[in-house]
């Protein structure tokens, strides 16, 4: 169909309508997070912010500092109490600490996953490891049983190991969850590299570790990126493990701290302002990854679903 028939107008009309529908919730959240309270909470929604403000971002990011300020101000000067209170009435939660916590867990999961899966994939492909096929079956076994059905024994295990309430516990659980797809992807990646390359390096007297880092990994970058992006996706987007295994405020993960904002708050406009700002903050890292590593993202996320 080369000619411009009316079909094509329909085709693009439908597609662009869908694009608008898909983008709208994100766009709406983004502009809501910049609207002044009076514009945010109104019976006549505006489709772009007339007055930009960063106050919600300021509140959720600098929550602890503002809280301290508020506490000292109200203690010091009772006379000016009313005014200061209206200026610094804080609701909900700060997200700075949770953001850092989530970043630590995600970074830890990515690094550990890459190390474990690279070595695992290498040993199960290139090297003459005994029981190779059995080990491989063992490693991909978890795809048959989603981790969500093991939350109770996992909680017990972490408790016995003293790893509840710790970032390490979450990192280890996420890494274990990444094993099937990670080892599978790395195995595929190494499989496609000709074995002669390794033999040449061996003749030159390189150690196995040297061969991995300088010969094999540079050739396995697409596989590596897929594993990395998926590890980021799994750990950053996790809710249930973070909710169950972490219970002290200083170790809270980002997604959980947003729940506290959604639940609390006596001021309606501050609650929704903070929640939309918080949603944007939690979406930002993942959208940056998506923008630059889109094809790996699609492969990783659907690969995990399909469990090839």
């Amino acid at each position: 169909m080369r000619r411009y028939s009316s079909d094509w107008y329909w085709y693009y009309a439908i597609n662009y309508t869908l694009v608008i529908i898909i983008i709208f919730p994100i766009y709406w959240t983004l502009i809501s997070s910049f609207k002044k309270p009076s514009e945010l909470i109104t019976s006549e929604p505006t489709f772009y912010p007339h007055d930009l403000t960063l106050q919600y971002y300021d509140q959720i990011w600098n929550f602890d500092r503002l809280k301290r300020l508020q506490d000292t101000e109200t203690e010091d000067s009772d006379s000016a109490g009313v005014e200061i209170e209206s200026k610094f009435r804080l609701d909900g939660e700060g997200v700075k600490r949770p953001f850092i916590n989530s970043a630590i867990v995600s970074a830890g999961t990515i690094i550990l996953t890459i190390i474990v899966c690279t070595f695992g994939g290498y040993a199960l492909t290139v090297l003459k490891t005994p029981l190779k096929n059995f080990f491989f079956l063992l490693v991909i076994l978890p795809i048959l049983i989603p981790g969500i059905s093991l939350i109770i024994p996992l909680y017990k295990l972490l408790k016995d190991l003293g790893l509840t309430n710790s970032h390490l516990g979450l990192i280890l659980i996420h890494t274990c969850g990444m094993l099937p797809l990670g080892v599978f992807m790395m195995r595929n990646a190494f499989n496609s590299i000709p074995s002669s390359l390794r033999e040449v390096a061996m003749l030159e007297g390189s150690s196995e570790l040297k061969i991995i880092t300088s010969v094999m990994l540079p050739l396995a970058i697409p596989g590596l990126l897929t594993v990395m992006v998926f590890a980021m996706y799994v750990s950053w987007n996790d809710y249930i493990y973070a909710f169950i295994f972490i219970n002290s405020p200083e170790n809270t993960m980002l997604n959980i701290s947003l729940m506290k904002i959604a639940l609390g708050g006596s001021q309606f406009e501050m609650k929704w302002g903070s929640l939309t700002a918080g949603s944007i903050v939690s979406f930002l890292p993942i959208i940056i990854f998506y923008t630059f590593l889109q094809q790996y993202f699609v492969r990783g996320v659907t690969g995990s679903a399909v469990k090839e």
């Binding site: 085709y11 439908i14 597609n15 869908l18 694009v19 898909i22 919730p25 994100i26 709406w28 959240t29 945010l40 019976s43 929604p45 474990v116 070595f119 695992g120 040993a123 199960l124 090297l127 490891t129 005994p130 080990f135 063992l138 490693v139 795809i143 048959l144 989603p146 969500i148 059905s149 093991l150 939350i151 109770i152 024994p153 996992l154 909680y155 295990l157 280890l172 659980i173 274990c176 094993l179 080892v183 996706y233 950053w236 987007n237 996790d238 809710y239 249930i240 909710f243 169950i244 997604n255 729940m259 959604a262 929640l275 918080g278 949603s279 939690s282 659907t302 679903a305 399909v306 469990k307």
Partner: protein, 292 residues
């Protein structure tokens, strides 16, 4: 030490972190979930063997049946919604036209957002009085004169509200699976169909869909397995309410374990979820094996 021997040792050493992680954080909890489900777990002291008591307790619990029923209703309603949108967008993206890569990356965009974030975003869209969806619905005459539309008022409306969010958030994954299936269909079929004078809808109905059957089955199984694990969207958006009418199986398990501290029954619930998902995954893998 011979070279082979050395290589074997290095191999074992390299695979050992993966195996240790697997043994501690997968195999042990897996075995333990059965062990826990046959024992009573008092807050203090040793666990006591109680046989099937935990399962009996669980099966006699009305909340279990309610959550099971709700999980199935949710699965049965959200699966067709997801599938229709996924199939539509997959067909659109498979056309030989300018811009399909762009459209595909936009349709996939909500998938990368976490379920939690998507729930918060839609919570705001549905927010009472000021949510933009509520505003739009009222504009079109829903909710009557008083303008007090609240989607969270009844269990049914809450579920449909969450379904809409999930469709927005998740159809992208199924779209990718269906696109992969569509791309595997050879052009000959379409050409033959064209030669026979079939209209576009006839081609879709009689050529595309039958050939796409394996991918369709895969997408449907995925959606069913995913819906049975539903947790975040309901915890965040409905909190199981109103009056526990939107409580899913996983939510019930978490409540049982961490609100009522009944670890035994909670473990037995975990075993039930595990069996359901195991059966679904086996079907899924068989489908995948057979067709790819």
């Amino acid at each position: 030490m011979s070279r082979l021997r050395k290589e074997q040792l290095v191999g074992l050493l390299m695979v050992s972190p993966a195996l240790i992680l697997l043994a501690v954080f997968f195999l042990y909890p897996l075995v333990n979930s059965f062990y826990m489900s046959f024992h009573k777990w008092p807050l203090f002291g040793k666990p006591k063997w109680v046989g099937l008591d935990n399962y009996i307790f669980m099966f006699q619990d009305e909340r279990f049946w309610e959550s099971l029923k709700f999980t199935f209703v949710y699965t049965l309603t959200v699966t067709p919604m997801l599938f229709i949108v996924a199939l539509g967008t997959a067909l659109l993206c498979n056309a030989k036209a300018w811009g399909t890569t762009f459209f595909r990356s936009i349709y996939f965009l909500p998938v990368v957002m976490s379920f939690a974030t998507a729930s918060y975003v839609w919570l705001w869209l549905y927010s009472e009085m000021y949510g933009v969806i509520i505003y739009a619905l009222e504009f079109f005459g829903f909710g009557g004169e008083k303008k007090n539309l609240n989607v969270w008022k009844t269990g049914t409306s809450s579920m449909w509200a969450v379904n809409a969010m999930v469709t927005w958030k998740f159809s992208g994954i199924q779209m990718i699976i269906l696109i992969a299936g569509l791309q595997a269909i050879r052009d000959d079929y379409y050409e033959a169909s064209k030669l026979m004078g079939a209209s576009r809808w006839q081609t879709i109905w009689n050529v595309t869909l039958p050939l796409l059957r394996p991918s369709i089955a895969l997408a449907l199984i995925l959606s069913i397995a995913g819906s049975i694990q539903a947790y975040e969207q309901f915890v965040i958006m409905t909190r199981g309410g109103p009056s526990n009418s939107t409580k899913t199986l996983v939510m019930h398990t978490v409540d049982m374990g961490f609100d009522y501290f009944k670890l035994g029954p909670a473990a037995s619930l975990g075993v039930i979820i595990m069996i359901i998902l195991f059966v679904l995954t086996v079907i899924q893998l068989r489908l995948f094996r057979k067709n790819y």
